[in-house]
């Protein structure tokens, strides 16, 4: 199979999964106890107003009809409307995309290089002190709950030393210095677990590469160790790493939900959290689909990149 056919097949495989995500979230949302109109109107709603709203948003129609209607709108690119905020979900998400993407992008931009550096260092000092220390910190980083780390960072940096703001978000265009100051703590919180995971992967991948025959040969030829590490082993060790970069996206999204909550960042995770509390059907379905698309695209790119980088991969 050529790489084109392989790509086409992989893209086609996404369609049933997306349909599944939509169906699952649709069913889950409608299984939520109570109805959104009640929650929206408060304790003692007037009967007529409730009926009117139910009819306006089609909540009184049979479920199968609501499902098909929603699907029809989705196919036309309309991801839904927020019942509580009276706005299209796409606009709500677009307004909150910035903070979330900044947070996720920055933490990844910090996590990836430091993880690669630490992982190569650990593998180069395999079974020596440096390796043990970085392995310990790798495990510790993986074992630290991010919400606790966030709270502790706020406590130390904001309350004890008063050097950084405890929470909030300032767009970069508005005030670059304040923006960066507000971002430092959340980015560190989100990046810690990422760095730990990636570093452990890099290390084990490097250790495996370094035990191979060609490395022995290179050593026998008298190549400098630095060159063997970076030019030869590292390039090959990168291959398995590519596969998890897409999967990491899922963890980043999870992390952003919690971290936006702690640091009061007006991003998509917070939108979803509030949407869930208010039973905002459109927001919940829209966000789930958006997250799923993001994740699936990440995995797809990873797979294709992997097939492209490694000529040994068979496309099947």
């Amino acid at each position: 199979m050529s790489i084109y056919r392989y790509s086409a097949r992989r893209i086609l495989q996404i369609i049933p999964v997306l349909l599944g995500v939509f169906s699952l979230t649709f069913v889950m949302v409608h299984a939520l106890p109570g109805n959104p109109v009640r929650i929206y109107l408060g304790l003692n709603p007037s009967q007529s107003l409730e009926q009117e709203l139910l009819a306006e948003y089609g909540f009184n129609q049979p479920l199968w009809k609501q499902y098909l209607d929603y699907l029809w709108r989705l196919l036309h690119g309309n991801i839904g409307e927020s019942f509580v905020r009276k706005e299209p979900v796409s606009e709500l998400m677009l307004a909150r995309l910035g903070p979330t993407v900044t947070l996720m992008g920055l933490s990844y931009a910090i996590a990836l290089p430091s993880a690669l550096l630490l992982g190569v260092y650990a593998a180069a000092t395999h079974n020596e002190l440096g390796d043990h220390v970085s392995r310990f910190f790798g495990l510790a980083g993986l074992s630290t709950p991010n919400f606790w780390l966030g709270l502790m960072l706020i406590f130390i940096m904001a309350y004890q030393f008063d050097v950084l703001p405890a929470s909030g978000y300032v767009p970069f265009t508005q005030d670059p210095v304040a923006s960066i100051k507000h971002l430092i703590l959340p980015v560190i919180t989100l990046a810690t677990a990422q760095t730990a995971t990636l570093m452990r992967m890099t290390r084990s991948s490097m250790v495996e590469e370094l035990s191979k025959d060609y490395v022995q040969t290179a050593r026998a030829y008298g190549l400098p160790e630095r060159r063997i590490l970076l030019k030869h082993a590292f390039r090959n060790a990168l291959l398995p790493l590519v596969t998890i970069i897409g999967l990491q996206l899922s963890f980043l999204l999870d992390g952003s939900v919690v971290i936006e909550q702690i640091f009061a960042i007006p991003g998509m995770g917070r939108l979803g959290y509030n949407g869930l509390l208010q039973q905002d059907y459109g927001v919940i379905i829209g966000l789930n689909i958006f997250f799923a698309i993001l994740f699936l695209i990440g995995v797809l790119i990873t797979d294709l990149a992997y097939a492209y980088i490694d000529p040994r991969i068979r496309y099947d």
Binding site: L139, N146, W148, D254, N288
Partner: protein, 357 residues
């Protein structure tokens, strides 16, 4: 352990290295894994004692040692750590240490039960799917991918909102969310094991498909999933704590670490101890499971040996003393093949020489 080593030495040449048992035996050479095992065992004891305490003894043990974890005391709100309350008190004047001890029940129960559900569900579905192949495989894998492509925490939050916040629903939610990961691992294991010769032999012997699947294939693929389970125990505990932290998980007055952090967040400035200790406990617990899982994985991997060269030399020396007929360890005997000694003979001999002086 020392009692069965003597029989082991004699039986070694007949012993086939069965995956899981050999792995667990190998574990004792890993300091990390033993450290993890120690932490996990201590927590397990703590959780079991507090469960017995609350169910049978009406909190008698914890009251005599520290304080009643559920008793409120309005005079002692946010009391800092002292002799009476080593970890301080919370917003209702409850003893934080007592609540932390009781919280171990919740954390471990979620870890073990949720991972158990995911494990069995995943192994059954994944193995069935891989073994059937064709469109059955396609349908099951697409369905699991659906579950997998929604970020875990978001899915768990939605499920908890539907089911209502309670600890039993937390087990269920995290159990379901875990299924795809296990299914993936066991599926790839089954796909590779299916091509092994002994499966052909079993077919030729006339075993039914399901007997082959459950007796031959799954047990052989299980060790890989076991590592996955130990390592994911930590992330499940963190995830469940995060849910409780966000208010979707365990409800008061049940003591849970995540829930304690939820209330601690608003009092961070005046009572940091309420936030520090529960988080520290989550960290220690997860660290324990991760250390254990890490050790398990190393033990499973035939390329890495957990024994230090010195340790190997010592054991080999002990073997030789115990059984003089095995005088020459290099090359001649099969029983060395399984003990991860291959390729290290030269180094062992060097250390061994040193030991005998």
């Amino acid at each position: 352990m020392s009692t069965d080593t003597s029989t082991n030495i004699q039986n070694k040449e007949f012993e086939t290295e069965s995956g899981i048992l050999a792995t667990i035996k190998e574990l004792r050479h890993s300091g990390t894994a033993m450290g993890g095992l120690l932490i996990v065992s201590l927590l397990l004891v703590m959780a079991i004692v507090s469960t017995v305490d609350i169910v049978l003894l009406d909190k008698a043990i914890i009251k005599s040692l520290f304080a009643d974890p559920h008793e409120m005391n309005t005079l002692q709100i946010y009391a800092p750590p002292s002799m009476e309350h080593p970890m301080g008190t919370d917003q209702y004047g409850r003893d934080v240490l007592a609540r932390i001890i009781y919280g171990s029940r919740v954390a471990l129960a979620i870890g073990i039960i949720a991972v158990g559900i995911g494990f069995f569900g995943g192994v059954t579905l994944g193995a069935f799917s891989a073994y059937k192949g064709g469109y059955v495989d396609d349908i099951i894998m697409r369905a699991l991918e659906t579950l997998y492509s929604i970020p875990g925490l978001v899915l768990a939050m939605t499920m908890m909102a539907i089911l209502g916040p309670s600890i039993y629903n937390l087990f269920f939610a995290y159990g379901i969310i875990g299924i795809p990961a296990y299914a993936r691992v066991i599926r790839s294991e089954v796909l590779s094991i299916r091509e092994e010769e002994y499966i052909d032999a079993a077919k030729a012997a006339g075993l039914s498909n399901y007997k082959i699947l459950f007796r031959e294939i799954i047990p052989n693929g299980l060790s890989a999933v076991l590592v996955q389970a130990t390592l994911s125990m930590g992330s499940v505990i963190i995830g469940a704590a995060a849910l409780s932290f966000l208010g979707f998980g365990v409800q008061p007055p049940t003591a849970s670490w995540g829930r304690m952090l939820n209330t601690a967040q608003s009092a961070l400035l005046i009572a940091p101890w309420v936030a520090i200790f529960p988080g520290l406990m989550i960290f220690i617990t997860v660290m324990g499971f991760n250390m254990l899982g890490d050790g398990l994985r190393d033990a499973m991997d035939p390329r890495t040996s957990l024994r230090s060269p010195k340790m190997e030399a010592l054991e080999e020396y002990a073997d030789r003393v115990a059984d003089p007929t095995k005088a020459d360890p290099v090359g001649s005997d099969d029983w060395l093949a399984g003990t991860a000694l291959s390729g290290k003979d030269a180094r062992n001999d060097a250390t061994d020489g040193g030991e005998r002086q």
